[in-house]
């Protein structure tokens, strides 16, 4: 079934937990297909067999057996087996077992806003600096990072560019500045609404770097187009273009990227000082 669904359009899965989700989707589609074909055949047969011309006199009692009750019970049982055996544990794992730094997960914050994803990295110290809504400046400080907080000194933010290491648990704390958005990574089977006033954690682990993924696309229509962050919740007129990009690095590349960002931050600060002097 998974093959069929993937032929139909389901993207391949590149996260550790995604397989379980695909399994539930497949199981349900088996059930659906089975019921649809079963009843469909019965339906077509009755339409043919019991048309007025073939069966001029209807039978008052009709079907007397109660096989159908058995069928109904069976459907209910299958649903509950999937529910209890798969669905509930998976969901519990999604929302209850969120790892943090102590568990070795990479912590990142994502702050959604109308038509962009602000990605907030804690920097070398691994601690997120304080934020204050009064400091928000769309140009220079979109998430209102409080630079006077020592923990904020090495924090850096990017817009629409999420970088993560492969084979490592990623924990993202998701929030929003204005309206509800929804953080969607189709290939990772990750989706979570970003709700203003709340910070909601989500987590996943990539099994493939962007590079490897791009390789699998060679020759397909999607060639050259890597992972993206989609917004799944209507958030205004720019909802359609609230597109972010996700790059999965190997461990080394990721460290290199982090260093590069730290370097950039230093240069920026320098520039600022220069600017101040000039003034």
């Amino acid at each position: 079934m998974l093959d069929i669904l993937q032929k139909l359009g389901l993207p391949i899965n590149v996260s550790v937990h995604g397989g379980e989700i695909d399994e539930v989707i497949s199981l349900f589609h088996w059930l659906m297909l089975f019921l649809f074909i079963g009843w469909g055949l019965f339906f077509l047969y009755t339409l043919y067999r019991f048309s007025a011309s073939r069966n001029p006199k209807a039978d008052y009692a009709g079907v007397k057996s109660h096989v159908s009750s058995g069928l109904e019970v069976a459907v209910a049982l299958i649903e509950f087996v999937i529910l209890i055996g798969f669905a509930l544990p998976i969901w519990a794992n999604r929302v209850n077992d969120v790892p943090n730094k102590a568990d070795g997960a990479e912590e990142i914050r994502v702050v959604a806003q109308q038509y962009a994803w602000n990605i907030h990295y804690p920097g070398n110290d691994g601690i997120f600096g304080a934020r204050d809504v009064n400091l928000v400046d769309e140009e220079s400080n979109p998430i209102g990072l409080d630079k006077s907080d020592p923990n904020a000194a090495d924090d850096f933010t990017t817009i629409n560019q999420l970088h993560i290491p492969v084979n490592k648990q990623i924990r993202i704390d998701l929030s929003s500045k204005d309206v509800i958005h929804s953080f969607f990574l189709p290939e990772f089977r990750v989706k979570q609404d970003a709700i203003p006033g709340m910070s909601i954690p989500l987590w996943f682990e990539a099994t493939m770097t962007s590079e490897d993924y791009l390789e699998t696309l060679v020759g397909s229509a999607r060639e050259g187009k890597g992972f993206e962050i989609a917004c799944a919740q209507l958030c205004g007129l720019g909802h359609y273009r609230m597109q972010g990009f996700l790059t999965v690095h190997s461990e080394e590349d990721y460290t290199a990227w982090l260093d590069e960002q730290a370097q950039l931050l230093l240069e920026e600060d320098d520039e600022d000082e220069w600017g101040d002097d000039d003034w």
Binding site: V98, D173, M198, I200, P201
Partner: protein, 100 residues
């Protein structure tokens, strides 16, 4: 109306006056209770219990629910069930959030 005879009605007038007196007393009790030094949870339950007693008196006697037809009671029972769901399920959903 349901076939009250004149005597019945006269008797029920007495009940109405009694209910009125109880309601008045309970109102005073509620207010007094609010000055007690209770935790917010206890205060809430106490206030709700008194209000429910008052509500029951009004609904039961003034609105004749104690002697009403089962159809109406069934409708109200259903409504009450949904009311409880509406009041508390959103709240339970809210506290069951993994993150706040």
């Amino acid at each position: 109306m349901s076939g009250h005879s004149v005597e019945d009605i006269k008797k029920s007038v007495k009940i109405y006056i009694g209910v009125f007196a109880s309601l008045a007393v309970l109102t005073v009790v509620t207010v007094a209770a609010s000055y007690l030094d209770l935790g917010s949870g206890e205060a809430f339950f106490l206030a709700m219990i008194i209000a429910s007693v008052k509500g029951t008196l009004v609904a039961g006697y003034f609105m004749h629910l104690f002697t009403e037809k089962t159809t109406i009671l069934a409708v109200l029972g259903l409504t009450f069930f949904f009311l409880i769901t509406l009041m508390f399920l959103p709240y339970i959903t809210f506290i069951d959030h993994p993150a706040i």
